[in-house]
Amino acid sequence: MRRALAGVGASKGLALGRARVRHPHVLTLSEETIAPDAVAAELERLEAAMQAARDELSGLRDKLQGALAQEIGEFLELHVLILDDPELRAGLRDLVQTGRYSADYALKLQRDRLAAVFMAMDNDYFRTRLDDLDHVIGRVHAALHRRPDDGQLGLAGEILVADDIAPAELAELSRQQLLAVVTRAGSPLSHSAIIARGLHLPMIVGCSDALSHVNDGDALVVDGREGLLVVEPDADDLARYRVTRAKIEKKRAQLERLKRAPTRTQDGFDIGLHANAERREEIAEALALGADGVGLFRTEFLFMGRTQVPDEDEQFHAYRDAVLGMAGRPVTLRTLDLGADKADNSGLALRNEPNPALGLRGVRLSLSRPMLLDAQLRAMLRASAFGPVRVLVPMVTAREEIEAVKVRLHALAARLREDRVPIGERITFGVMVEVPAAALTLIDYADLVDFAAVGTNDLVQYLLAADRTHEALDGLYSERHPAVLRLLHQLFAQARDAGLPIHVCGELAASAPDVPLLLALGLRDFSVHPGALLEVREAIRAADLGKLKRRAASLLQCRERGDVERWLQRVRAA
């Protein structure tokens, strides 16, 4: 029977396939004991399952490549260590040998024992290690019940429906030709969702009815943009699927033609369009799509999932490669922006902070580790010998912070010149506007900087006091809140008055439907991830700047999100 289930679109794209349902490994077993003469065989079964789980983990690690490997490898390593844990193993063996429990029940008992201790911890970070334990126990449990032909089938033509999915697994499944993923839990801002978008794998999260309403083998249509899942689609659904599919194909062909088109509005104004890029493929894509430069290169990716901080030379090579890759177009290198949402696998940032979003992050962290900051700045300066580099500092709040970094930067540059190390002639220095205080006072520190970049994700989060990854606050975090629009308008006006170049590199810039909004507010330079570059260019080319300027006043009078959305509709209709 046809059913339509709603979730949240996490990675756009359309897929038609058959369901592969994976129920979570809930170890809700009743007490299960075994006969004394079965102990040896049960121990062997447990041992084999643990070995199988271990093989899977090493297999996964071997298959990962590139940046993904760094990010995920560390979790896998932790999971291997948990599997090999002598206490865990001895406890399990003892439960089977002495307690004469089945391997399954022993797993449950052992898990519950450890979970009780973890749950009692008063530290969130350590409490969340329980997830790692559950992941490992789940893997062993799955191995205990695996039929010999499982996993050999491949996933071509299939759509995975699961409780949740780990980032590492997603990468692996995509390689096995999986078509799409639907999860009951999760958020579009989770690590898995970000990876799904990178893999161009359609994904729906938060589809609460998925597990109870989908059976293995059901035909499914997944619309990752709308977050809509159709189970057992009827003729109408299939017709719609074909139409949408054709539209997507057509759109792709249209966008293809936009690669060489100028980023110019209907009424002839040229608008800046940069790319947010750091990996080699992204840099290549940015150049191929005609980006004006790299508006944001996040240096964190060099630090993620590492046991050691990359040294100056390693950083220099990465930055230089990006500069060379952009063939003379400017590359904006942002100093380390580790903080609350990225701390988990970096080893550098604070994990024990009671309020990490308001703590030691961004430039605050850098200034507290001068050695680290100096190495970054020197590496950036050295890269500037190979093409235009713009140094960008995140999370500034006060003029003093900007001055402190600038003084260091210039002292390091002078020193490098003295030592006859080649660096660029001009050092371009800018700051990220993410803290509302920095947005309100741009004019007061504009004399210190050559440009500014707006990180709308954090700016909105701080302005609205709403965590963008908080599931229950879904409706509250919105870039279309009137306060956000008025603040941006004021910010762009200050930049214009100071003659300071400013661009937006947050998610808002990459949202094609919001392009008229940003243009009306006064933005003239966008920086977006390469995947959104052509769509944003298309939206800019469709816009009439003069008309939008005339509508700015009515936009600033909006009193609620609904008003803003109606304003956008009117602009589209005009």
């Binding site: 560390e74 390593e77 932790l78 260590l81 948990i82 090999d84 844990d85 002598p86 206490e87 865990l88 450890l114 201790v117 973890f118 911890m121 530290n123 970070y125 350590f126 290690r129 790692d132 334990l133 046991t307 050691q308 901080v309 080893g347 550098l348 604070l350 994990r351 024990n352 580790r369 050695m371 680290l372 190495a375």
Partner: protein, 89 residues
């Protein structure tokens, strides 16, 4: 048997990565290793044990090593703590 009190001086305390390093390091020695902190005593060769200790920065732990290479194991572990688990520049 050797016993030493070791201050946890790295910024993050015994978080997952630091714990993993300690466990991996001690796995290379024959000596038994026990970590005592916050009224709890755990096997220092067990990742779950060390994680359960959850020693934050500023606290100190007591490490006991017992076995043929107890001195080497102790020295290596002390050095790892002193190096702040190689996590800071």
């Amino acid at each position: 048997m050797l016993e030493r009190q070791i201050p946890v001086v790295n910024r993050l305390g015994l978080h997952a990565r630091a714990s993993a390093k300690l466990v991996q390091l001690l796995a290379g020695f024959k000596a038994q290793a026990t970590l005592v902190g916050a009224g709890r005593e755990v096997n220092a060769k067990s990742i779950m044990g060390v994680l359960l200790l959850a020693a934050g920065q500023g606290s100190s732990v007591t490490l006991r090593t017992d076995g043929p290479d107890e001195a080497e194991a102790m020295a290596a572990a002390e050095a790892l703590f002193a190096r702040r688990f190689d996590e800071e520049s």
